[in-house]
Protein backbone atom coordinates (compact mmCIF):
# COMPACT_ATOMS: atom_id res chain seq x y z
CA UNK A 1 0.00 0.00 0.00
CA UNK A 2 2.73 2.47 -0.81
CA UNK A 3 1.93 5.42 -2.98
CA UNK A 4 4.04 5.86 -6.08
CA UNK A 5 6.30 8.78 -5.11
CA UNK A 6 6.55 10.43 -8.50
CA UNK A 7 5.12 8.83 -11.61
CA UNK A 8 6.87 11.41 -13.79
CA UNK A 9 10.29 10.19 -12.71
CA UNK A 10 9.19 6.65 -13.50
CA UNK A 11 8.41 7.60 -17.08
CA UNK A 12 11.75 9.33 -17.55
CA UNK A 13 13.59 6.37 -16.09
CA UNK A 14 11.66 4.03 -18.37
CA UNK A 15 12.48 6.15 -21.38
CA UNK A 16 16.12 6.14 -20.38
CA UNK A 17 16.18 2.39 -19.91
CA UNK A 18 14.50 1.89 -23.27
CA UNK A 19 16.95 4.06 -25.13
CA UNK A 20 19.79 2.22 -23.41
CA UNK A 21 18.39 -1.05 -24.73
CA UNK A 22 17.55 0.31 -28.16
CA UNK A 23 20.61 2.17 -29.53
CA UNK A 24 18.76 2.92 -32.78
CA UNK A 25 16.08 4.88 -30.98
CA UNK A 26 18.78 6.69 -29.03
CA UNK A 27 20.61 7.56 -32.26
CA UNK A 28 17.32 8.77 -33.75
CA UNK A 29 16.69 11.03 -30.78
CA UNK A 30 20.22 12.44 -30.91
CA UNK A 31 19.92 13.17 -34.65
CA UNK A 32 16.57 14.87 -34.11
CA UNK A 33 17.89 16.97 -31.25
CA UNK A 34 20.85 18.12 -33.34
CA UNK A 35 18.61 19.06 -36.28
CA UNK A 36 16.06 20.73 -34.03
CA UNK A 37 18.76 22.87 -32.40
CA UNK A 38 20.14 23.70 -35.85
CA UNK A 39 16.69 24.76 -37.03
CA UNK A 40 15.97 26.84 -33.94
CA UNK A 41 19.31 28.65 -33.91
CA UNK A 42 19.71 28.80 -37.71
CA UNK A 43 20.08 32.57 -37.68
CA UNK A 44 23.03 32.37 -35.28
CA UNK A 45 24.74 29.43 -36.94
CA UNK A 46 24.79 30.51 -40.58
CA UNK A 47 27.72 32.48 -41.90
CA UNK A 48 25.88 34.01 -44.88
CA UNK A 49 22.40 34.68 -46.20
CA UNK A 50 21.59 31.40 -48.02
CA UNK A 51 20.27 33.14 -51.16
CA UNK A 52 22.74 36.03 -51.28
CA UNK A 53 25.18 36.00 -54.17
CA UNK A 54 28.59 36.28 -52.64
CA UNK A 55 31.63 37.99 -54.04
CA UNK A 56 35.30 37.33 -53.61
CA UNK A 57 37.56 40.14 -52.35
CA UNK A 58 38.67 40.75 -55.93
CA UNK A 59 35.08 41.56 -56.96
CA UNK A 60 34.36 38.33 -58.84
CA UNK A 61 31.33 36.18 -58.02
CA UNK A 62 32.35 33.53 -55.50
CA UNK A 63 31.04 30.63 -57.61
CA UNK A 64 32.11 27.01 -57.31
CA UNK A 65 34.37 27.59 -54.33
CA UNK A 66 35.73 24.42 -52.74
CA UNK A 67 35.02 23.76 -49.04
CA UNK A 68 37.26 25.46 -46.54
CA UNK A 69 38.04 28.95 -45.43
CA UNK A 70 35.03 31.27 -45.12
CA UNK A 71 32.83 28.89 -47.12
CA UNK A 72 32.80 25.80 -44.91
CA UNK A 73 31.08 23.65 -47.47
CA UNK A 74 31.93 25.63 -50.54
CA UNK A 75 29.59 27.66 -52.75
CA UNK A 76 27.13 26.97 -55.53
CA UNK A 77 27.62 27.88 -59.16
CA UNK A 78 25.79 31.15 -58.47
CA UNK A 79 28.01 31.94 -55.54
CA UNK A 80 25.72 31.00 -52.65
CA UNK A 81 27.01 29.47 -49.42
CA UNK A 82 26.18 25.71 -49.25
CA UNK A 83 26.56 25.47 -45.47
CA UNK A 84 24.06 28.27 -44.87
CA UNK A 85 21.59 26.66 -47.25
CA UNK A 86 22.00 23.36 -45.42
CA UNK A 87 21.25 25.01 -42.09
CA UNK A 88 18.14 26.77 -43.37
CA UNK A 89 17.13 23.52 -45.07
CA UNK A 90 16.91 21.91 -41.62
CA UNK A 91 14.45 24.58 -40.60
CA UNK A 92 12.08 24.04 -43.53
CA UNK A 93 12.41 20.26 -43.32
CA UNK A 94 11.42 20.18 -39.65
CA UNK A 95 8.66 22.71 -40.20
CA UNK A 96 7.16 20.63 -42.99
CA UNK A 97 7.58 17.38 -41.08
CA UNK A 98 6.21 18.53 -37.75
CA UNK A 99 3.29 20.56 -39.05
CA UNK A 100 2.20 17.78 -41.41
CA UNK A 101 2.44 15.31 -38.52
CA UNK A 102 0.42 17.60 -36.27
CA UNK A 103 -2.29 18.01 -38.89
CA UNK A 104 -2.46 14.29 -39.57
CA UNK A 105 -2.69 13.53 -35.85
CA UNK A 106 -5.42 16.09 -35.26
CA UNK A 107 -7.52 15.26 -38.33
CA UNK A 108 -6.97 11.50 -38.16
CA UNK A 109 -7.74 11.30 -34.46
CA UNK A 110 -10.89 13.40 -34.70
CA UNK A 111 -12.17 11.43 -37.67
CA UNK A 112 -11.36 8.12 -35.98
CA UNK A 113 -13.05 9.18 -32.74
CA UNK A 114 -16.30 10.34 -34.33
CA UNK A 115 -16.35 7.53 -36.84
CA UNK A 116 -15.80 4.79 -34.28
CA UNK A 117 -18.01 6.24 -31.56
CA UNK A 118 -21.06 7.29 -33.54
CA UNK A 119 -20.92 4.61 -36.25
CA UNK A 120 -23.77 4.54 -38.76
CA UNK A 121 -23.75 7.11 -41.53
CA UNK A 122 -21.10 9.28 -39.80
CA UNK A 123 -18.76 6.30 -39.94
CA UNK A 124 -19.70 5.44 -43.53
CA UNK A 125 -19.18 8.98 -44.84
CA UNK A 126 -15.87 9.58 -43.04
CA UNK A 127 -14.38 6.21 -43.91
CA UNK A 128 -15.37 6.38 -47.59
CA UNK A 129 -13.83 9.84 -47.68
CA UNK A 130 -10.68 8.23 -46.29
CA UNK A 131 -10.79 5.52 -48.95
CA UNK A 132 -10.95 8.19 -51.65
CA UNK A 133 -7.96 10.00 -50.14
CA UNK A 134 -5.96 6.78 -49.96
CA UNK A 135 -6.72 5.89 -53.57
CA UNK A 136 -5.18 9.13 -54.88
CA UNK A 137 -1.57 8.66 -56.06
CA UNK A 138 0.66 10.44 -53.61
CA UNK A 139 3.38 12.38 -55.41
CA UNK A 140 1.34 13.32 -58.53
CA UNK A 141 -1.35 14.78 -56.25
CA UNK A 142 1.18 16.97 -54.44
CA UNK A 143 2.66 18.13 -57.73
CA UNK A 144 -0.78 18.99 -59.16
CA UNK A 145 -1.65 20.77 -55.95
CA UNK A 146 1.58 22.76 -56.17
CA UNK A 147 0.76 23.63 -59.77
CA UNK A 148 -2.72 24.88 -58.97
CA UNK A 149 -1.97 26.63 -55.70
CA UNK A 150 1.08 28.73 -55.03
CA UNK A 151 4.05 26.39 -54.69
CA UNK A 152 4.88 27.18 -51.08
CA UNK A 153 5.81 25.09 -48.10
CA UNK A 154 2.30 25.06 -46.60
CA UNK A 155 0.71 23.63 -49.70
CA UNK A 156 3.04 20.67 -49.45
CA UNK A 157 1.99 20.27 -45.82
CA UNK A 158 -1.69 20.44 -46.76
CA UNK A 159 -1.21 17.95 -49.57
CA UNK A 160 0.64 15.45 -47.38
CA UNK A 161 -1.92 15.69 -44.56
CA UNK A 162 -4.85 15.48 -46.97
CA UNK A 163 -3.63 12.10 -48.15
CA UNK A 164 -2.15 10.62 -44.97
CA UNK A 165 -4.90 11.23 -42.37
CA UNK A 166 -6.93 8.12 -43.30
CA UNK A 167 -4.22 5.75 -41.99
CA UNK A 168 -4.37 7.34 -38.55
CA UNK A 169 -8.15 7.67 -38.78
CA UNK A 170 -8.65 3.97 -39.46
CA UNK A 171 -6.39 2.82 -36.66
CA UNK A 172 -7.96 5.21 -34.16
CA UNK A 173 -11.44 4.14 -35.28
CA UNK A 174 -10.67 0.48 -34.68
CA UNK A 175 -9.38 1.33 -31.20
CA UNK A 176 -12.48 3.36 -30.43
CA UNK A 177 -14.70 0.47 -31.52
CA UNK A 178 -13.28 -1.66 -28.71
CA UNK A 179 -12.94 1.17 -26.19
CA UNK A 180 -16.54 2.30 -26.44
CA UNK A 181 -17.72 -1.12 -25.23
CA UNK A 182 -15.57 -1.00 -22.08
CA UNK A 183 -17.30 -0.96 -18.73
CA UNK A 184 -15.88 2.40 -17.77
CA UNK A 185 -17.50 3.99 -20.80
CA UNK A 186 -20.80 2.40 -19.84
CA UNK A 187 -20.31 3.62 -16.28
CA UNK A 188 -19.64 7.12 -17.59
CA UNK A 189 -22.86 6.97 -19.59
CA UNK A 190 -24.85 5.86 -16.57
CA UNK A 191 -23.26 8.62 -14.52
CA UNK A 192 -24.80 11.07 -16.99
CA UNK A 193 -21.74 12.10 -19.00
CA UNK A 194 -22.55 13.60 -22.41
CA UNK A 195 -21.37 11.95 -25.62
CA UNK A 196 -18.70 14.58 -26.22
CA UNK A 197 -17.46 14.27 -22.66
CA UNK A 198 -17.19 10.49 -23.00
CA UNK A 199 -15.46 10.88 -26.33
CA UNK A 200 -12.90 13.45 -25.23
CA UNK A 201 -12.21 12.69 -21.57
CA UNK A 202 -12.80 8.96 -21.46
CA UNK A 203 -11.90 7.61 -24.88
CA UNK A 204 -9.52 10.10 -26.51
CA UNK A 205 -6.68 9.78 -23.95
CA UNK A 206 -6.66 6.04 -24.61
CA UNK A 207 -6.01 6.45 -28.33
CA UNK A 208 -3.53 9.35 -28.20
CA UNK A 209 -0.42 7.15 -27.92
CA UNK A 210 -1.28 5.34 -31.13
CA UNK A 211 -2.14 8.58 -32.94
CA UNK A 212 1.26 9.93 -31.98
CA UNK A 213 2.89 6.79 -33.31
CA UNK A 214 1.26 7.36 -36.68
CA UNK A 215 2.13 11.05 -36.48
CA UNK A 216 5.80 10.19 -35.95
CA UNK A 217 5.76 8.14 -39.15
CA UNK A 218 4.27 11.09 -41.03
CA UNK A 219 7.22 13.35 -40.07
CA UNK A 220 9.60 11.35 -42.24
CA UNK A 221 7.09 10.99 -45.06
CA UNK A 222 6.43 14.70 -45.22
CA UNK A 223 10.12 15.63 -45.27
CA UNK A 224 10.75 13.05 -47.95
CA UNK A 225 7.82 14.27 -50.03
CA UNK A 226 8.85 17.90 -49.76
CA UNK A 227 12.37 16.96 -50.88
CA UNK A 228 11.01 14.95 -53.84
CA UNK A 229 8.68 17.71 -54.95
CA UNK A 230 11.43 20.33 -54.66
CA UNK A 231 13.89 18.14 -56.51
CA UNK A 232 11.37 17.80 -59.35
CA UNK A 233 11.13 21.56 -59.47
CA UNK A 234 7.63 22.02 -58.07
CA UNK A 235 8.80 23.04 -54.65
CA UNK A 236 8.50 26.24 -52.71
CA UNK A 237 10.36 29.04 -54.45
CA UNK A 238 10.46 31.28 -51.41
CA UNK A 239 12.50 29.14 -49.04
CA UNK A 240 15.61 27.02 -49.08
CA UNK A 241 15.20 23.32 -48.58
CA UNK A 242 17.36 20.26 -49.05
CA UNK A 243 15.31 19.18 -52.04
CA UNK A 244 15.79 22.63 -53.59
CA UNK A 245 19.57 22.30 -53.08
CA UNK A 246 19.56 18.94 -54.85
CA UNK A 247 17.60 20.35 -57.74
CA UNK A 248 19.89 23.36 -57.95
CA UNK A 249 22.94 21.09 -58.01
CA UNK A 250 21.33 18.77 -60.55
CA UNK A 251 20.47 21.59 -62.96
CA UNK A 252 23.95 23.06 -62.64
CA UNK A 253 25.49 19.68 -63.41
CA UNK A 254 27.39 19.62 -60.16
CA UNK A 255 27.97 15.89 -60.48
CA UNK A 256 29.84 16.13 -63.77
CA UNK A 257 32.05 18.81 -62.27
CA UNK A 258 32.67 16.62 -59.27
CA UNK A 259 31.25 19.20 -56.86
CA UNK A 260 30.26 16.57 -54.28
CA UNK A 261 30.43 19.14 -51.47
CA UNK A 262 27.31 20.71 -53.01
CA UNK A 263 24.82 17.84 -53.08
CA UNK A 264 26.17 15.13 -50.77
CA UNK A 265 25.50 17.00 -47.50
CA UNK A 266 21.86 17.76 -48.30
CA UNK A 267 21.22 14.20 -49.52
CA UNK A 268 22.82 12.91 -46.35
CA UNK A 269 20.67 15.19 -44.19
CA UNK A 270 17.44 13.97 -45.82
CA UNK A 271 18.54 10.41 -45.27
CA UNK A 272 19.52 11.03 -41.66
CA UNK A 273 16.28 12.78 -40.69
CA UNK A 274 14.03 10.23 -42.36
CA UNK A 275 15.99 7.32 -40.89
CA UNK A 276 16.00 8.97 -37.45
CA UNK A 277 12.22 9.37 -37.65
CA UNK A 278 11.89 5.71 -38.46
CA UNK A 279 14.15 4.66 -35.57
CA UNK A 280 12.19 6.79 -33.13
CA UNK A 281 8.85 5.41 -34.35
CA UNK A 282 10.18 1.91 -33.91
CA UNK A 283 11.42 2.55 -30.39
CA UNK A 284 8.17 4.26 -29.51
CA UNK A 285 6.17 1.38 -30.90
CA UNK A 286 8.15 -0.98 -28.71
CA UNK A 287 7.40 1.21 -25.72
CA UNK A 288 3.68 1.07 -26.56
CA UNK A 289 3.47 -2.61 -27.43
CA UNK A 290 6.18 -4.38 -25.45
CA UNK A 291 4.92 -7.77 -26.65
CA UNK A 292 6.09 -7.07 -30.21
CA UNK A 293 9.71 -7.53 -29.19
CA UNK A 294 9.73 -11.30 -29.42
Amino acid sequence: MTANPDPGAGLLRRLFRLTGRDPFALAGIVIYVVFALTAIFADVIVSHDPLEILFLPDGKVASNQSPGGVYWLGTTSLGRDVFSQLVYGARSALMVGLSAALMVVVVGTLVGLFSGYYGGWVDAVLMRLGDVALSIPFLPFIIVLAAFLKPNIWNVVIGVSALLWPNTGRIVRSQVLTLRERSYVEAARVSGASHLRILFTHIAPNVLPISFLYGSIVVGWAIFTEASVSFLGFGPSDSVSWGFMLQDAFLSQALSRGAYYWFVPSGLCIMLVVAAGFFISRGYEELLFPKLRD
Partner: protein, 332 residues
Amino acid sequence: MNLLEVQDLDLAYQTHRGTVQALQGVQLCVRPGEVIGLVGESGCGKTSLARAITGVMPRNARITRGELRWQGVDLLKLTEARHRERRWREFAFVPQSAMNALNPVHRVGQQIAEVLTQRGGLGASAARARVEALFDQVGIDPQRARDYPHQFSGGMRQRISIAMALALQPKLVIADEPVTALDVIVQRQILDLILGLQKSLQLSMIMVTHDVSVVAYVCDSVVVMYAGQVVETGSAAEVLDAPLHPYTMGLTRAFPDLQQGIEQLRPIEGSPPDLLTPPTGCRFAERCPFAQDACRAASPPLRSVAGGARSVACWRSDEAAVLRAQWLAEPA
Protein backbone atom coordinates in the same frame (compact mmCIF):
# COMPACT_ATOMS: atom_id res chain seq x y z
CA MET B 1 -43.72 3.99 -1.01
CA ASN B 2 -41.61 1.68 -3.08
CA LEU B 3 -38.40 3.14 -4.39
CA LEU B 4 -38.65 1.45 -7.74
CA GLU B 5 -41.45 -0.45 -9.40
CA VAL B 6 -40.98 -2.21 -12.68
CA GLN B 7 -44.26 -3.19 -14.24
CA ASP B 8 -44.89 -5.41 -17.25
CA LEU B 9 -41.65 -4.39 -18.86
CA ASP B 10 -40.94 -5.61 -22.40
CA LEU B 11 -37.58 -4.98 -23.97
CA ALA B 12 -36.53 -6.08 -27.43
CA TYR B 13 -33.25 -5.96 -29.35
CA GLN B 14 -33.38 -5.40 -33.09
CA THR B 15 -30.76 -7.65 -34.65
CA HIS B 16 -29.88 -8.67 -38.17
CA ARG B 17 -31.68 -11.96 -37.66
CA GLY B 18 -34.85 -10.39 -36.25
CA THR B 19 -36.30 -9.12 -33.02
CA VAL B 20 -35.01 -10.69 -29.82
CA GLN B 21 -37.53 -10.45 -27.02
CA ALA B 22 -35.01 -10.03 -24.18
CA LEU B 23 -37.48 -9.08 -21.44
CA GLN B 24 -41.12 -9.97 -21.31
CA GLY B 25 -43.63 -8.77 -18.74
CA VAL B 26 -41.00 -8.26 -16.05
CA GLN B 27 -42.19 -7.24 -12.61
CA LEU B 28 -39.87 -5.98 -9.91
CA CYS B 29 -40.30 -3.99 -6.76
CA VAL B 30 -37.54 -2.40 -4.69
CA ARG B 31 -38.37 -1.19 -1.20
CA PRO B 32 -36.12 1.30 0.61
CA GLY B 33 -33.20 -0.43 2.29
CA GLU B 34 -33.81 -3.74 0.54
CA VAL B 35 -31.17 -5.85 -1.20
CA ILE B 36 -32.56 -7.75 -4.14
CA GLY B 37 -30.71 -10.52 -5.88
CA LEU B 38 -31.38 -10.88 -9.57
CA VAL B 39 -30.35 -14.39 -10.56
CA GLY B 40 -30.44 -16.54 -13.63
CA GLU B 41 -27.98 -17.99 -16.11
CA SER B 42 -26.27 -16.07 -18.91
CA GLY B 43 -28.57 -14.52 -21.49
CA CYS B 44 -31.71 -14.61 -19.40
CA GLY B 45 -32.13 -10.85 -19.23
CA LYS B 46 -30.52 -9.88 -15.92
CA THR B 47 -28.17 -7.33 -17.41
CA SER B 48 -30.84 -6.11 -19.84
CA LEU B 49 -33.10 -5.37 -16.89
CA ALA B 50 -30.32 -3.61 -14.99
CA ARG B 51 -29.57 -1.49 -18.05
CA ALA B 52 -33.21 -0.69 -18.66
CA ILE B 53 -33.40 0.68 -15.12
CA THR B 54 -30.34 2.88 -15.61
CA GLY B 55 -31.71 4.01 -18.98
CA VAL B 56 -28.39 3.36 -20.68
CA MET B 57 -29.00 0.69 -23.26
CA PRO B 58 -27.41 -0.46 -26.49
CA ARG B 59 -28.68 1.43 -29.51
CA ASN B 60 -30.68 -1.50 -30.84
CA ALA B 61 -32.68 -1.93 -27.63
CA ARG B 62 -36.29 -0.78 -27.43
CA ILE B 63 -38.63 -0.81 -24.47
CA THR B 64 -41.92 -1.70 -26.09
CA ARG B 65 -44.23 -1.90 -23.12
CA GLY B 66 -44.43 -1.35 -19.37
CA GLU B 67 -43.51 1.15 -16.72
CA LEU B 68 -40.43 1.96 -14.68
CA ARG B 69 -41.70 3.95 -11.73
CA TRP B 70 -39.05 5.68 -9.64
CA GLN B 71 -40.73 6.98 -6.47
CA GLY B 72 -43.99 7.17 -8.39
CA VAL B 73 -42.59 8.84 -11.53
CA ASP B 74 -42.47 6.80 -14.72
CA LEU B 75 -38.89 7.11 -15.94
CA LEU B 76 -39.83 5.98 -19.43
CA LYS B 77 -42.05 9.01 -19.91
CA LEU B 78 -39.31 11.46 -18.91
CA THR B 79 -37.26 13.28 -21.49
CA GLU B 80 -33.67 12.14 -21.82
CA ALA B 81 -32.51 15.29 -20.00
CA ARG B 82 -34.79 14.70 -16.99
CA HIS B 83 -33.80 11.05 -16.89
CA ARG B 84 -30.16 12.06 -16.98
CA GLU B 85 -30.66 14.30 -13.92
CA ARG B 86 -31.57 11.25 -11.90
CA ARG B 87 -28.75 9.06 -13.06
CA TRP B 88 -26.01 8.52 -10.50
CA ARG B 89 -27.63 11.04 -8.12
CA GLU B 90 -30.52 8.70 -7.33
CA PHE B 91 -29.42 5.40 -8.75
CA ALA B 92 -25.81 4.47 -9.39
CA PHE B 93 -24.21 1.54 -11.06
CA VAL B 94 -21.28 -0.76 -10.33
CA PRO B 95 -20.29 -2.22 -13.68
CA GLN B 96 -19.49 -5.81 -14.48
CA SER B 97 -15.90 -6.97 -14.00
CA ALA B 98 -13.61 -4.80 -11.96
CA MET B 99 -10.84 -5.04 -14.56
CA ASN B 100 -12.55 -2.84 -17.14
CA ALA B 101 -14.56 -0.68 -14.80
CA LEU B 102 -11.92 2.04 -14.49
CA ASN B 103 -10.37 4.12 -17.22
CA PRO B 104 -6.66 3.16 -17.39
CA VAL B 105 -5.45 6.63 -18.40
CA HIS B 106 -6.85 8.64 -15.51
CA ARG B 107 -5.88 8.58 -11.84
CA VAL B 108 -8.62 6.85 -9.87
CA GLY B 109 -9.24 9.81 -7.58
CA GLN B 110 -9.62 12.05 -10.59
CA GLN B 111 -12.25 9.71 -12.06
CA ILE B 112 -14.36 9.94 -8.94
CA ALA B 113 -13.74 13.66 -8.66
CA GLU B 114 -15.00 14.07 -12.21
CA VAL B 115 -18.40 12.71 -11.21
CA LEU B 116 -18.39 14.92 -8.11
CA THR B 117 -17.57 18.14 -9.90
CA GLN B 118 -19.52 17.57 -13.10
CA ARG B 119 -22.62 16.00 -11.62
CA GLY B 120 -22.49 16.80 -7.92
CA GLY B 121 -21.66 20.49 -8.26
CA LEU B 122 -18.71 20.28 -5.89
CA GLY B 123 -15.65 22.49 -6.20
CA ALA B 124 -12.24 20.95 -6.80
CA SER B 125 -11.08 20.96 -3.17
CA ALA B 126 -14.44 19.77 -1.82
CA ALA B 127 -14.36 16.98 -4.37
CA ARG B 128 -10.87 15.98 -3.25
CA ALA B 129 -11.99 15.83 0.37
CA ARG B 130 -15.01 13.76 -0.60
CA VAL B 131 -12.84 11.35 -2.60
CA GLU B 132 -10.68 10.82 0.47
CA ALA B 133 -13.74 10.19 2.60
CA LEU B 134 -15.07 7.71 0.05
CA PHE B 135 -11.75 5.88 -0.12
CA ASP B 136 -11.77 5.63 3.63
CA GLN B 137 -15.29 4.25 3.51
CA VAL B 138 -14.38 1.44 1.14
CA GLY B 139 -11.18 0.64 3.01
CA ILE B 140 -8.49 2.07 0.75
CA ASP B 141 -5.72 4.40 1.87
CA PRO B 142 -6.84 7.88 0.66
CA GLN B 143 -3.21 8.53 -0.35
CA ARG B 144 -3.73 6.16 -3.24
CA ALA B 145 -6.28 8.36 -4.97
CA ARG B 146 -3.34 9.60 -7.02
CA ASP B 147 -2.58 6.15 -8.42
CA TYR B 148 -3.66 4.69 -11.73
CA PRO B 149 -6.02 1.69 -12.00
CA HIS B 150 -3.26 -0.74 -13.02
CA GLN B 151 -1.56 -0.15 -9.69
CA PHE B 152 -4.44 -1.80 -7.85
CA SER B 153 -5.49 -5.42 -7.44
CA GLY B 154 -8.84 -6.65 -8.74
CA GLY B 155 -10.49 -6.47 -5.34
CA MET B 156 -9.25 -2.94 -4.74
CA ARG B 157 -10.49 -1.84 -8.14
CA GLN B 158 -13.88 -3.24 -7.25
CA ARG B 159 -13.76 -1.22 -4.03
CA ILE B 160 -12.99 1.88 -6.07
CA SER B 161 -15.93 1.27 -8.43
CA ILE B 162 -18.10 0.96 -5.35
CA ALA B 163 -16.70 4.23 -4.02
CA MET B 164 -17.50 5.82 -7.36
CA ALA B 165 -21.06 4.52 -7.26
CA LEU B 166 -21.52 5.98 -3.78
CA ALA B 167 -20.06 9.36 -4.71
CA LEU B 168 -23.34 11.23 -5.08
CA GLN B 169 -25.12 9.41 -2.26
CA PRO B 170 -27.64 7.53 -4.40
CA LYS B 171 -30.66 5.76 -2.97
CA LEU B 172 -30.28 2.70 -5.14
CA VAL B 173 -27.13 0.95 -6.29
CA ILE B 174 -27.34 -1.51 -9.15
CA ALA B 175 -24.39 -3.87 -9.10
CA ASP B 176 -23.85 -6.00 -12.18
CA GLU B 177 -21.93 -9.14 -11.13
CA PRO B 178 -19.86 -7.18 -8.59
CA VAL B 179 -17.79 -10.14 -7.39
CA THR B 180 -17.79 -12.54 -10.33
CA ALA B 181 -14.22 -11.89 -11.49
CA LEU B 182 -12.74 -12.19 -7.99
CA ASP B 183 -11.45 -15.14 -6.02
CA VAL B 184 -13.62 -16.37 -3.18
CA ILE B 185 -11.69 -14.74 -0.34
CA VAL B 186 -11.82 -11.33 -1.98
CA GLN B 187 -15.45 -12.01 -2.91
CA ARG B 188 -16.23 -12.41 0.76
CA GLN B 189 -14.42 -9.17 1.64
CA ILE B 190 -16.24 -7.21 -1.05
CA LEU B 191 -19.60 -8.67 -0.10
CA ASP B 192 -18.97 -7.78 3.55
CA LEU B 193 -18.03 -4.27 2.48
CA ILE B 194 -21.19 -3.95 0.37
CA LEU B 195 -23.33 -5.25 3.21
CA GLY B 196 -21.74 -2.89 5.72
CA LEU B 197 -22.19 0.13 3.49
CA GLN B 198 -25.72 -0.90 2.64
CA LYS B 199 -26.61 -1.02 6.34
CA SER B 200 -24.88 2.20 7.35
CA LEU B 201 -26.10 4.23 4.37
CA GLN B 202 -29.57 2.67 4.23
CA LEU B 203 -29.07 1.82 0.57
CA SER B 204 -31.32 -0.20 -1.63
CA MET B 205 -29.49 -2.54 -3.91
CA ILE B 206 -30.10 -4.68 -6.93
CA MET B 207 -27.41 -7.30 -7.12
CA VAL B 208 -27.19 -8.98 -10.50
CA THR B 209 -25.48 -12.33 -10.19
CA HIS B 210 -25.60 -15.90 -11.33
CA ASP B 211 -24.11 -17.15 -8.10
CA VAL B 212 -26.77 -18.45 -5.74
CA SER B 213 -24.36 -18.41 -2.81
CA VAL B 214 -23.93 -14.64 -3.22
CA VAL B 215 -27.68 -14.25 -3.04
CA ALA B 216 -27.86 -16.41 0.07
CA TYR B 217 -25.13 -14.37 1.74
CA VAL B 218 -26.24 -10.82 0.93
CA CYS B 219 -29.78 -10.55 -0.34
CA ASP B 220 -33.06 -9.99 1.48
CA SER B 221 -35.13 -11.12 -1.43
CA VAL B 222 -34.51 -12.75 -4.73
CA VAL B 223 -35.91 -12.49 -8.24
CA VAL B 224 -35.20 -15.48 -10.45
CA MET B 225 -35.20 -14.82 -14.19
CA TYR B 226 -35.33 -17.28 -17.02
CA ALA B 227 -35.35 -16.47 -20.74
CA GLY B 228 -36.43 -12.88 -20.22
CA GLN B 229 -39.18 -13.59 -17.73
CA VAL B 230 -39.42 -13.50 -13.96
CA VAL B 231 -40.17 -17.05 -12.89
CA GLU B 232 -40.00 -16.80 -9.12
CA THR B 233 -39.72 -14.14 -6.42
CA GLY B 234 -39.73 -14.13 -2.65
CA SER B 235 -37.49 -13.71 0.35
CA ALA B 236 -34.04 -15.12 -0.27
CA ALA B 237 -34.24 -17.61 2.57
CA GLU B 238 -37.58 -19.06 1.49
CA VAL B 239 -36.84 -19.21 -2.21
CA LEU B 240 -33.49 -20.91 -1.75
CA ASP B 241 -34.76 -23.19 0.96
CA ALA B 242 -37.95 -24.32 -0.71
CA PRO B 243 -37.97 -23.28 -4.36
CA LEU B 244 -41.32 -23.46 -6.11
CA HIS B 245 -40.14 -23.27 -9.71
CA PRO B 246 -38.24 -26.20 -11.19
CA TYR B 247 -35.66 -23.80 -12.63
CA THR B 248 -34.91 -22.42 -9.17
CA MET B 249 -34.66 -25.97 -7.88
CA GLY B 250 -32.10 -26.56 -10.59
CA LEU B 251 -30.15 -23.42 -9.75
CA THR B 252 -29.90 -24.21 -6.07
CA ARG B 253 -28.66 -27.69 -6.92
CA ALA B 254 -26.19 -26.59 -9.57
CA PHE B 255 -23.63 -25.25 -7.10
CA PRO B 256 -21.41 -27.42 -4.93
CA ASP B 257 -21.92 -27.37 -1.20
CA LEU B 258 -19.01 -27.90 1.16
CA GLN B 259 -21.07 -29.93 3.58
CA GLN B 260 -22.67 -32.21 1.04
CA GLY B 261 -21.16 -34.62 -1.41
CA ILE B 262 -20.96 -33.85 -5.07
CA GLU B 263 -23.60 -36.46 -5.80
CA GLN B 264 -26.00 -33.76 -4.64
CA LEU B 265 -24.84 -31.66 -7.55
CA ARG B 266 -27.13 -31.68 -10.54
CA PRO B 267 -26.75 -29.44 -13.53
CA ILE B 268 -29.76 -28.32 -15.56
CA GLU B 269 -29.46 -30.04 -18.90
CA GLY B 270 -29.63 -28.02 -22.11
CA SER B 271 -29.53 -24.28 -22.60
CA PRO B 272 -32.09 -21.44 -22.60
CA PRO B 273 -34.36 -21.13 -25.65
CA ASP B 274 -33.55 -18.91 -28.60
CA LEU B 275 -35.40 -15.67 -27.90
CA LEU B 276 -35.72 -14.92 -31.61
CA THR B 277 -38.40 -17.59 -31.68
CA PRO B 278 -39.51 -18.14 -28.09
CA PRO B 279 -41.61 -21.24 -27.41
CA THR B 280 -45.34 -20.67 -27.06
CA GLY B 281 -45.75 -22.42 -23.75
CA CYS B 282 -43.61 -22.23 -20.62
CA ARG B 283 -40.13 -21.19 -21.70
CA PHE B 284 -38.51 -23.67 -19.34
CA ALA B 285 -40.62 -26.63 -20.52
CA GLU B 286 -37.92 -27.85 -22.91
CA ARG B 287 -35.47 -28.43 -20.04
CA CYS B 288 -37.91 -29.15 -17.26
CA PRO B 289 -38.03 -32.76 -16.05
CA PHE B 290 -41.60 -32.22 -14.86
CA ALA B 291 -43.06 -30.66 -17.99
CA GLN B 292 -46.52 -31.81 -19.04
CA ASP B 293 -48.60 -31.13 -22.13
CA ALA B 294 -50.24 -28.16 -20.43
CA CYS B 295 -46.80 -26.58 -19.89
CA ARG B 296 -46.03 -26.62 -23.61
CA ALA B 297 -49.48 -25.34 -24.57
CA ALA B 298 -49.61 -22.07 -22.65
CA SER B 299 -47.22 -19.83 -20.77
CA PRO B 300 -47.87 -19.79 -17.02
CA PRO B 301 -48.54 -16.34 -15.51
CA LEU B 302 -46.63 -15.05 -12.48
CA ARG B 303 -49.02 -15.81 -9.64
CA SER B 304 -48.76 -14.72 -6.03
CA VAL B 305 -48.56 -17.54 -3.56
CA ALA B 306 -48.01 -17.91 0.18
CA GLY B 307 -50.33 -15.00 0.99
CA GLY B 308 -48.63 -12.63 -1.46
CA ALA B 309 -45.14 -13.04 0.03
CA ARG B 310 -43.90 -15.02 -2.95
CA SER B 311 -44.77 -15.43 -6.57
CA VAL B 312 -44.04 -18.09 -9.13
CA ALA B 313 -44.73 -18.76 -12.79
CA CYS B 314 -45.27 -22.49 -12.99
CA TRP B 315 -48.37 -24.56 -13.73
CA ARG B 316 -47.30 -27.20 -11.22
CA SER B 317 -46.22 -24.95 -8.35
CA ASP B 318 -48.87 -26.48 -6.09
CA GLU B 319 -46.99 -29.75 -6.26
CA ALA B 320 -43.66 -28.05 -5.58
CA ALA B 321 -42.85 -30.08 -2.46
CA VAL B 322 -43.24 -33.35 -4.37
CA LEU B 323 -41.25 -32.08 -7.33
CA ARG B 324 -38.40 -30.97 -5.06
CA ALA B 325 -38.15 -34.44 -3.64
CA GLN B 326 -38.17 -35.93 -7.13
CA TRP B 327 -35.50 -33.50 -8.35
CA LEU B 328 -33.18 -34.68 -5.61
CA ALA B 329 -34.02 -38.33 -6.04
CA GLU B 330 -33.74 -38.56 -9.78
CA PRO B 331 -30.32 -39.81 -10.87
CA ALA B 332 -28.26 -37.39 -12.87
